[in-house]
Symmetry: C2
């Protein structure tokens, strides 16, 4: 038997969605919820991705992270190409059930397809005016994406 | 002079967006990017929100968190009703520039309109089958939302 996920009916009271114990995700018009992924050890945000009902069900069932790729329009197991799987230590849902938070143990060198540990490797300096210039932070590559994905 | 934010033109090379130093957010069809907000001290994810170009510009200029409310369809300064402002310690942008990460110092008792410190106060147990039953985690209220927002 697989995980049963019922999207929240429009009629659901906010109190049910916010205070209830039933997982009733509020998928968007695109059928997706937002998934925030943090490193269970460092607390750093590794990536932001999206899940449809099937990705969420597979993640709950297996304890490994599955997502839905908006660009490729398909279900996607994190690490299926790179080997950089994510073991989910804890999964949480937010108040209005349109976002989930995964604390993961990141397998392999990194989560980002550019070769960094995290996708968030550039800072936006605050208090600027005019055109905004980014600054690299933790921008060194943890792996060579060409070697891992076999393309440039 | 205010912050200038130019959305990434469709023709932009992935390499410019991913490796460049120009902030060129890839706003969705709804004009928004996803904003993940973590507590600068604990590393916990406090909330997930959205920003349009104006919210992002105001956040960069002021160092305080501004968002765009999809339900109310308006620009929104975090804490304008509750007094629970967010001082941004660091702002980062992700590889494809459709998400930002704010590490904040949360003013007041909490970030969530339900009265909790974080919006993510329920866990989804892993390895379940069938209907999924949530479990409260850090579910105690840090403030009384009725007292703060003046409504039930």
């Amino acid at each position: 038997m697989t995980v049963k996920i019922s999207a929240a009916p429009m009629a659901n009271q906010a109190s049910d969605i916010e205070e209830g114990l039933t997982l009733a995700p509020r998928f968007g018009a695109d059928g997706l919820v937002t998934a925030v992924v943090t490193d269970a050890r460092s607390g750093d945000v590794l990536m932001v991705a999206h899940m449809n009902d099937e990705a969420l069900a597979k993640t709950i069932e297996t304890g490994e992270a599955w997502y839905y790729s908006r660009s490729r329009q398909k279900l996607w197991k994190k690490g299926e190409s790179s080997g950089h799987l994510q073991r989910v230590i804890e999964l949480r849902v937010d108040c209005d059930q349109d976002a989930v938070w995964l604390k993961v143990e990141q397998q392999g060198a990194g989560a980002c397809h550019t070769g960094r540990r995290s996708c968030f490797y550039r800072a936006v300096p605050l208090g600027q005016t005019g055109a905004v210039k980014l600054e690299f932070r933790d921008g060194e590559r943890a792996f060579d994406p060409k070697a891992v994905y076999g393309k440039s």
